[in-house]
């Protein structure tokens, strides 16, 4: 008995030491900054000096009263709109790859490329592609007699262009998830269904889709969290958030307040509020998920 306890204890200590670096990393780079951020949200800290005073809830009052914050929130929610579309498209593409309908490898490279490319280079190229007068996109539309819009000048169209860019980028990585998930569907299910006379479509609808729901759920949650944090595209396309702040997202607003206005305390308050918002959305998704996500045997 004694020997067993000693062994277990030694193994326990070894295990603890294994995870210590990761715990230290988490504490230093996540928990500590989080605590500083929460503290700073109640101060008027300006990052340029350590001096600050506690100002209670003033930052929160200010942010709820600022029309720009609400505009930014609306723009941010708009960034969620492409999610169902690119999930669908990625699923279709993954399915075609799975069934070997397409030239799989070549297409996979082409679709994955945007995801691993530098956003700055992508934006530079897109700025020219979507140039209202000289861009390829508008000139292509002109071939069909369509007057292309002012993608970069009109905030409504800049938003749509950014959404297009996000979808285009994400399709690659999402298909990879789906391809992997499709490979995990036990073939025996399909065989059984075939024996019962199910058509391809019925097999897809009643076997593939339900088994894919955990993957879809995961992609929905991470896609939502990622899309809500859209920042770089906004900053690179519109240095000021677009005409009438029609393009600025919340993270862009936070960045402006933190570094252009040096109101770090206020920015921390915004970040805290927005973080809570994302957490609530995620919890909502988790609770609803019980209704439609397949839990497995």
């Amino acid at each position: 008995m004694k020997k067993g306890n000693k062994l277990m204890r030694r193994e326990g200590i070894a295990g603890l030491l294994f995870v210590t670096p990761q715990i230290v990393y988490f504490l230093l780079f996540f928990l500590l900054p989080l605590c500083i951020c929460i503290y700073a949200a109640f101060t008027n800290w300006n990052i340029l000096s350590v001096r600050h005073t506690l100002v209670g809830l003033r930052n929160f009052d200010k942010l709820f009263a600022d029309p720009k914050f609400w505009k930014a929130l609306k723009n941010t929610l708009y960034m969620l709109t492409p999610i169902p579309f690119y999930l669908l498209f990625a699923l279709a593409f993954a399915y075609c790859c799975h069934k070997k309908i397409l030239a799989e490898k070549a297409f996979r490279v082409v679709y994955y490329l945007p995801f691993i490319s530098s956003i700055v280079s992508l934006v530079l190229i897109w700025k020219w592609l979507f140039n209202a007068q000289y861009g390829l996109v508008n000139n292509f539309l002109a071939l069909f007699g369509i007057q292309g819009p002012n993608w970069l000048g009109d905030p409504v169209w800049t938003r749509r262009m950014i959404v297009l860019m996000i979808s285009w980028k994400m399709i690659g990585i999402i298909s990879i998830y789906y391809i992997a998930a499709l490979k995990n569907v036990p073939i025996s299910y399909y065989e059984a269904a075939q024996l019962d006379g199910a058509s391809s479509w019925q097999q897809f609808r009643d076997i593939t889709l339900p088994i894919l729901t955990p993957t879809t759920f995961y992609l929905l949650v991470t896609g939502m969290i990622g899309s809500l944090q859209t920042f770089l595209e906004v900053q690179l396309f519109t240095p000021d958030g677009g005409r009438g702040y029609g393009v600025g997202t919340i993270v862009f607003y936070i960045w402006q307040k933190a570094f252009e206005s040096s109101q770090m305390g206020y920015a921390c308050a915004c970040a805290g509020v927005f973080g809570l918002f994302i957490m609530l959305l995620t919890i909502l998704q988790l609770t609803v998920s019980r209704k439609w996500v397949y839990e497995g045997e």
Binding site: T20, P21, N44, S49, N131, Q133, D240, G244, Y245, W255
Partner: protein, 465 residues
């Protein structure tokens, strides 16, 4: 299980070491939270460096490729003149500069010398991040105030309440003039004579010239002018964004202001001599001018190098027209400064670098030869620069503007510029013709005033005044 270290024990030791390393890194990171180190301490340590110990200082700036090359050349000259000092030159893209600088300040790693735009000088000075250069300037004959453009003197002074007086917190790194560049070939073809100092244009003369220069259609369209500088229009018309005495009252609804704004917008809306905002987004007025498709454009002397290399036509500069109502012409000038960090550990070397880059004759010479800027030293400007053969031909126009018409932009004199950004956030609606200038200014005045009030509050918070 003999004497050799078992795998388990080895991994245990590795884990402990990593944890210890992590914790010690934590310790050193948290100790770098200091603010303004006492200047006495840094002077004491720099006295040691003056005694010949090798010293390393960091210098951070932004710039075009040409500017970076020019600065590398000047730094090499500096290192030759001060052999114990090595300079680590950090280049950052200009749109990321403020973020990076503020993050470095927050981490206690502010570069020893760095670009400081006039807009941000008060903020950095009030938070104790800029080294007070007054003593250095007093004790070192680095420049003769009479030999430097008047508008630059006192530019980087701040007394804790207002810009323009008090201690010196940065040295001017350059001065930029913002004249109208015009296409001489197009002028000759249309039979237009450019204005001179004795025979200046007013807005009507400008409009006539622009109409004569506008021609063509579609791809061969040539516009008479690009967007007109709103500062020139407003100030020349006797109006102000904010009252000049106290900088606290927004005055954008004054008739003189809205008249100026509407006149600028009408250049496109009514007279068709300037590109529409959409066209300017597609191809900037600046690029259109370089292609020879725009007759007159407001641009800064930082573009001299670019125009010299890329314009395939003869070009020159002219002063901004006077307003027919006031017969006055005013335009803004630009300047960025070189500041020394208050937390520098090598104050003497850092101040020497800032002074060298700012006023040293060789560095001034390199800058104008590369088309980066015009000299800050008047004798050099009127002397060898005027005699040099690189364009523009009418260099005297630039000096006239600096001596007689240039003033600091209003937003650079307030503590932060958010009120100005708010004003600009939808001027496009006036230039598109969606709203008249009067309506736009009336609709936005309250928000702008509120942001200006907040700027004043912020200053009070930072400076305690």
């Amino acid at each position: 299980m003999k004497n050799r270290i078992s795998r388990r024990n080895f991994l245990k030791a590795a884990g402990v070491l990593t944890a210890a390393a992590g914790l010690s890194a934590c310790g050193s990171a948290s100790s770098a939270q200091s603010t303004a180190a006492s200047q006495a301490a840094s002077t004491a340590s720099s006295a040691a460096s003056a005694a010949g110990e090798p010293v390393k200082i960091s210098f951070m700036g932004w710039g075009t490729d040409d500017e970076i090359a020019a600065y590398k050349a000047m730094i090499a000259q500096f290192e030759k003149a001060y052999p114990t000092v090595t300079v680590d030159y950090i280049v950052v893209a200009d749109n990321e500069f403020d973020t990076k600088l503020q993050t470095m300040i927050g981490a206690g790693e502010c570069p020893d010398v760095f670009y400081c735009s006039i807009d941000k000088m008060m903020k950095y000075a009030a938070t104790g991040n800029l080294y007070d250069l007054s003593d250095y300037v007093a004790n070192n004959a680095i420049f003769d105030p009479d030999n430097v453009w008047t508008c630059l003197n006192d530019l980087y002074r701040f007394d804790g309440a207002n810009q323009g007086k008090g201690d010196i917190y940065a040295l001017p790194k350059d001065v930029s003039v913002f004249p109208i560049f015009y296409n001489v070939d197009l002028f000759k073809a249309a039979g237009i004579t450019a204005p001179t100092e004795d025979a200046p244009w007013d807005w009507n003369d400008f409009l006539d010239a622009a109409k004569k220069l506008t021609s063509g259609d579609g791809d061969s369209k040539v516009y008479g002018t690009g967007a007109y500088s709103l500062e020139s229009a407003v100030w020349s018309n006797g109006a102000e964004w904010v009252d000049a005495e106290t900088l606290s009252k927004v005055e954008i609804t004054d008739p003189a202001f809205t008249e100026a704004l509407q006149w600028c917008a009408d250049l496109h809306l009514v007279h068709g001599v300037a590109p529409s905002p959409d066209e300017s987004t597609a191809l900037s007025d600046y690029d259109r001018f370089k292609q020879g498709k725009l007759g007159m454009v407001g641009a800064g002397t930082w573009s001299l190098g670019d125009f010299t290399q890329n314009c395939k036509f003869e070009w020159d500069v002219m002063n901004w027209p006077v307003s027919p109502n006031t017969k006055k012409s005013e335009i803004w000038f630009g300047s960025a400064g070189l500041a020394v960090s208050a937390t520098t550990k090598a104050a003497e070397a850092a101040c020497n670098l800032a002074a060298y880059l700012a006023f040293n004759e060789d560095s001034q010479r390199t800058a104008y030869q590369m088309g980066q800027a015009i000299p800050m030293l008047k004798d050099m400007a009127y002397g060898e620069y005027s005699d040099s053969t690189n364009p523009p031909a009418s260099k005297k126009v630039l000096f006239d503007i600096l001596e007689n018409n240039a003033r600091l932009a209003t937003q650079s004199r307030t503590f932060n510029q958010e009120w100005f950004a708010e004003f600009n956030s939808n001027t496009a609606s006036v230039f598109d013709g969606e709203m008249t200038a009067v309506d736009y200014c009336a609709s936005i005045k309250d928000t702008v005033q509120q942001l200006l009030d907040e700027s004043i509050e912020q200053k009070a918070e930072y400076t305690g005044k």
